[in-house]
């Protein structure tokens, strides 16, 4: 009997990378990549950026052309949902049909967390995760100036707000926390971006929750805040976080906890199943913590680890996390962590709009956030990976090249 295939569920950034790394690692057996979206695997980051603000063509979102999958002998199954996983029989149900696997990779990603207040179901209240979502928003933003409300001041809400503003719409961002991007950047960076948005005419409302969304008599929307303020809107984009797709893993009895739990080798609680990307609660052996990340870096690097594990060539996941976000012309780049620090050192200046904040836990550098200082970002990734000693006086002195510390 022919060897059973390796199947990858979820044809996004992580799923594609698992397949690609398997081939690259010498696996020449049968390999299927199954996803429930109809379009060829594509990048999500531009959806809130160039795709909205610059009318980027859809073709340019695609990771690879269709010939690529043929050439690599990857059976690409699109538009089909995997509805069940049986780990003891080692089989999947795909569009009602049973498919056996030898080994399995789950790369099911995450979906936008739904807003639960009354009125969330109104037409004009939307989310941004997929190209279909982005197409809808882009369509709405192509009309005359609209009143756009972003609920949630995280990356996605802010990027949509920035893109909509660049297109000339009037924009309000509502954030329940006391600062922007509270989960992922330090208060200094939050405050900097609040000022950037303000100065570009975006209204930022902090510290208040949305109570409900009403439809007014003229058909437009009214966002009602917990303090009874009302904000009229033509379009409401909700970006309040995401929920990992764990349904398949959970019903199969795999260990899940805000994500499919995997060790530093991307191994789930089943020996024949690995997982990677946004769907995982994973261990990073460098940081020594379990966390769930939503980033291209994590999707790609963890997928490579997962592929190696499938090939029986285990290597621990210990990459330095990094992320970027483009907001109203400011390039925010993050390396390492910006939580758990007890002091910070600044390079450059916020007034000039070009600075990096170095986060330390005592003397140990744990992360760096850069705004319009790409060189700092790149060198920081290397400094963090090397565990280098980074003296304050070198950081603050722009004449000093950080590279000399490597």
């Amino acid at each position: 009997m022919a060897e059973l295939p390796i199947i990858v569920v979820g044809a996004g950034q992580a799923g594609l990378q698992v397949a690609e790394s398997l081939r690259r690692g010498g696996y020449d057996g049968s390999l299927a990549l199954i996803g429930n979206e109809k379009i060829l695997p594509y990048q999500r980051p531009p959806l809130s950026k160039q795709y909205l603000s610059e009318g980027m063509l859809e073709d340019r979102l695609l990771f690879r052309s269709s010939e690529y999958y043929e050439k690599k002998d990857i059976e690409l199954v699109l538009g089909q949902h995997v509805s069940a996983l049986d780990t003891s029989a080692r089989s999947l149900i795909v569009d009602g049909k049973t498919r056996p696997y030898g080994k399995l990779a789950l790369a099911t990603g995450a979906s936008a967390r739904p807003l639960s207040v009354s009125g969330s179901e109104h037409e004009g209240v939307c989310y941004l995760r997929s190209v279909d979502d982005a197409k809808y928003i882009r369509g709405r933003l192509s009309a005359d100036p609209q009143r756009v409300v972003a609920i949630g001041g995280g990356f996605i809400g802010l990027e949509v707000a920035g893109s909509a503003r660049e297109l000339g719409h009037s924009v309000t961002v509502i954030e329940a926390q006391e600062r922007l991007m509270a989960r992922v950047v330090s208060p200094l960076v939050s405050e900097y971006f609040r000022k950037v948005y303000r100065s570009r005419g975006v209204d930022i409302v902090l510290n208040v929750a949305v109570n409900r969304i009403e439809r007014s008599t003229d058909g437009s929307l009214i966002v009602v805040l917990a303090d009874t303020r009302t904000i009229p809107a033509d379009l409401v984009v909700v970006g309040i976080g995401s929920s990992p797709h764990t349904e398949l893993a959970e019903t199969a009895g795999l260990h899940c906890d805000n994500g499919i739990v995997v060790d530093e080798f991307a191994q789930t609680s089943d020996p024949y199943v690995v997982a990677a990307g946004d769907c995982t609660m994973h261990k990073n052996s460098r940081l020594g913590i379990f966390h769930r990340l939503e980033s291209v870096q994590n999707a790609v690097d963890q997928a490579k680890i997962a592929a190696m594990t499938l090939l029986g060539n285990q290597k621990p996941y210990d990459q330095v996390p990094w992320f970027w976000s483009d907001q109203l012309g400011a390039k925010l780049q993050m390396a390492g962590r910006s939580d758990g620090f007890n002091r910070t050192v600044m390079r450059g200046s916020m007034e000039d709009g070009e600075f990096s904040i170095f986060y330390f836990d005592d003397d140990v550098l744990i992360g760096v956030d850069s705004v319009n200082r790409p060189t700092d970002h790149v060198v920081s990734r290397k400094l963090l990976a090397a565990g280098a000693n980074v003296p304050d006086q070198i950081i603050v002195d722009l004449e000093q090249n950080l590279k000399t510390l490597l």
Partner: protein, 106 residues
């Protein structure tokens, strides 16, 4: 449309047309050239679209700008002619450009 000749990591030659304004990286992706990964989608943030401009073309392509220069720091095996292909927009002047793809998956 101008042509680009990509020599991939396995030495395979891909000759293909790339429309003006598209990047050399996009041309590689659209044509399934092995080794151009481009995980940041051309945001000049990852260096996985690294390639070596053939000696004969280095002058016409020109040097990287400051941002690209810094991202190139992440590239594994930097040499003369190293460029991030997402930062080279195609133009008639570059018709026939030869790019050797770097090992971006190390």
């Amino acid at each position: 449309m101008p042509k680009v000749i990509y020599i991939d990591v396995d030495g395979e030659r891909h000759e293909t047309e790339v429309s003006n304004g598209s990047s050399v990286m996009e041309g590689a992706i659209a044509n399934g050239v092995e080794g151009i990964l481009a995980i940041c989608g051309g945001s000049c943030a990852c260096s996985t679209c690294h390639g070596y401009i053939d000696d004969a073309w280095i002058d016409r392509v020109g040097p990287p700008n400051e941002i690209e220069e810094s991202t190139l720091e992440l590239a594994l095996d930097r040499r003369t002619g190293s460029r991030l292909t997402c930062q080279i927009p195609m133009r008639d002047e570059l018709d026939g450009l030869v790019v050797h793809v770097a090992d971006n998956d190390g």
